[in-house]
Symmetry: C2
Subunit: 256 residues, 2 copies
C-alpha cells in the first residue's frame, strides 16, 4: 500500500441469491469456475444487496403500518408512507428531507438515502411491495464472509461490503464501504512527510471507500449480474479495520 | 461500460514537473519507458498537482496581503491569514468554517477544503511560503492533454484530472475528478430497468469520480512519485463529458 498496479475482475455466474444460501461457497465457486482461484491478499468487494438477500433482510410493505411521523414525512418527500416508516425504523435521525429525497443517519451511522433500503432488484416484489434492508451488521457480515472463505478456500482475503451512495454537491453515485474485514478501512498518514521533508497535509485516506468505488466501475448498476469483484495487487500490514472506522462522529459532523 | 475487468498501472519515472513543461510528452515518455504504450480507450488519471505545476499555478504568500475578511476568517479557522486570503480569491462562497477546517465553493464549483490549494509538496516552498492553486480550468487542461497525447502517441485516451477530497460524514479522503476529457463523467441510467423489469432507482453514476478514486489507490499520497495512473479495460460510447457534469447546481444543493 500503495500498490503500483491493481487488477479488478468481476466474478460472474452467481445465481440469484436466496435467504440462507452460503454466500462464501457461491463466491468460491464463482471464482473457481472463472479459473480465478482466490489467493492471500485478494480483496473481494461484495454488493450489499447479495449479502442482504443471503441474510433474508426482506420486508413486505403490506406488513408495515406507518406512524403519524412517517405519514407526515412521506407527504413531504412524496414517498410511500409504509416505505418511509421502514426507513425511519432503520434510522437514528433524518438529515435532509425534500421532494423525492430522504437522507437519514442509518442506525449504524451511515448517512445515506432511504437508510439504504432497496426497492429495485428485489425478486417477488409484486409491484414494489417487497423491500430489502441493509445487512443487520455489515462489519459482522464481512468478518463472517472472510472467515468462511478462509475455511473453504484457504485464502486470507480482505472483504468489503459496498453500496452506492449519493454525495452532497456532486452529481451521481459512487460505491462506498459499509462493512470491512481483513484490511484497513482508513490508512492513516498523519506524521508522514513528502519528498522535501514537509509534513503532509492530507492525513487519512479512505482506502476501503476507494476500493468500493473502483469495484463499482466493473459491477455496473444491476448488481445481480456481477455483485462481486476481486481486486488483486494490494499490500498491507497490520490489523484489519471496519466500516465503522469510516464514519465521522456526530460531534465532529459539520453537515448535520 | 461497465467493464468486466479493469487494470490499473501507475506510470512512474516522471521527473519533478516544472512550469512550462510539456506534460503530455512526459506522460507518453513515462508510458514508453515502462513498456506501457498508450492505446485507444486507455484512461489516464492525472493528479491535479502535476497539472498545476506544469501550468505554473504557484503563488508566494509573501506577495499576498490579507483583507479584513481574510483576517477575521483566519482567526476563526486558525490558519495563516495570507493563505486564507488566497483561498477566498479562489472561491465563490464559504461553505463551512471551523477550527482548522475551511471548506469553500471553488470559483469553478467544486466544494472542497481550502479551494484545493496545496502547501505540501511544493518545491522551493521556503518553509511553506509557496503554495499551489488548482489548474486555471481543469476541463480545459484535460482536453489539451488528451489532444496533445493524440498528436504525440496516436492514442485516443480519456483523461481525468483528480484531486483528493474530504467528505461530510465520512472519515478520510478519496480522489474525485476535477477535469474530464474524452469519456463520460456521469453515466446516466435513468429509465434503465433491472432484471425483473423494474425501473432502477439509482439513476446516475459518477463514473469519472469512481475512476479517480480507483487511481488514488495506486497513486498513494505523495503524488510526485506516481502522479499518473493508466486504466485499461473500459468501454464507452458517445461523446465525452466534463468535470462540470459532476457538480450539483447551488439551487439543488441541500447542504449549503
Amino acid at each position: 500500500m500503495p500498490a503500483s498496479s491493481l487488477a479488478l475482475q468481476a466474478l460472474s455466474g452467481l445465481p440469484e441469491v436466496l435467504p440462507g444460501m452460503d454466500l462464501a461457497a457461491l463466491l468460491c465457486s464463482a471464482a473457481r469456475d472463472a479459473g480465478q482461484h482466490l489467493v492471500d491478499g485478494d480483496v473481494l468487494v461484495v454488493a450489499q444487496k447479495v449479502v442482504s438477500k443471503a441474510e433474508g433482510r426482506f420486508m413486505d410493505l403490506r406488513d408495515v403500518a406507518p406512524s403519524a411521523a412517517a405519514l407526515a414525512l412521506a407527504a413531504r418527500v412524496r414517498k410511500d408512507p409504509r416505505f418511509v416508516e421502514a426507513v425511519l425504523r432503520e434510522s437514528s435521525a433524518v438529515v435532509r428531507a425534500s421532494a423525492h429525497v430522504l437522507i437519514t443517519r442509518h442506525r449504524l451511522g451511515y448517512v445515506m438515502a432511504n437508510a439504504g433500503i432497496d426497492r429495485s432488484n428485489v425478486p417477488g416484489s409484486d409491484g414494489g411491495e417487497r423491500i430489502l434492508l441493509l445487512p443487520l451488521d455489515p462489519d459482522a457480515s464481512a468478518r463472517a464472509l472472510r472467515a468462511a472463505i478462509l475455511r473453504q478456500s484457504g485464502a486470507r482475503v480482505g472483504v468489503v461490503i459496498s453500496d452506492s451512495f449519493g454525495r452532497p454537491w456532486r452529481i451521481g453515485t459512487v460505491n462506498v464501504a459499509l462493512g470491512v474485514a481483513g484490511l484497513p478501512a482508513v490508512v492513516d498518514r498523519r506524521g508522514g512527510v513528502d519528498r522535501d521533508g514537509r509534513r503532509l497535509e492530507t492525513t487519512q485516506v479512505a482506502l476501503a471507500d476507494a476500493l468500493a468505488a473502483a469495484a463499482g466501475v466493473v459491477m455496473g448498476e444491476t448488481t445481480e449480474s456481477t455483485p462481486v469483484v476481486r481486486l488483486r495487487g494490494l499490500h498491507w500490514d497490520g490489523p484489519g479495520g471496519s466500516g465503522q472506522d469510516l464514519l465521522r462522529s456526530v460531534a465532529e459532523d459539520l453537515f448535520q
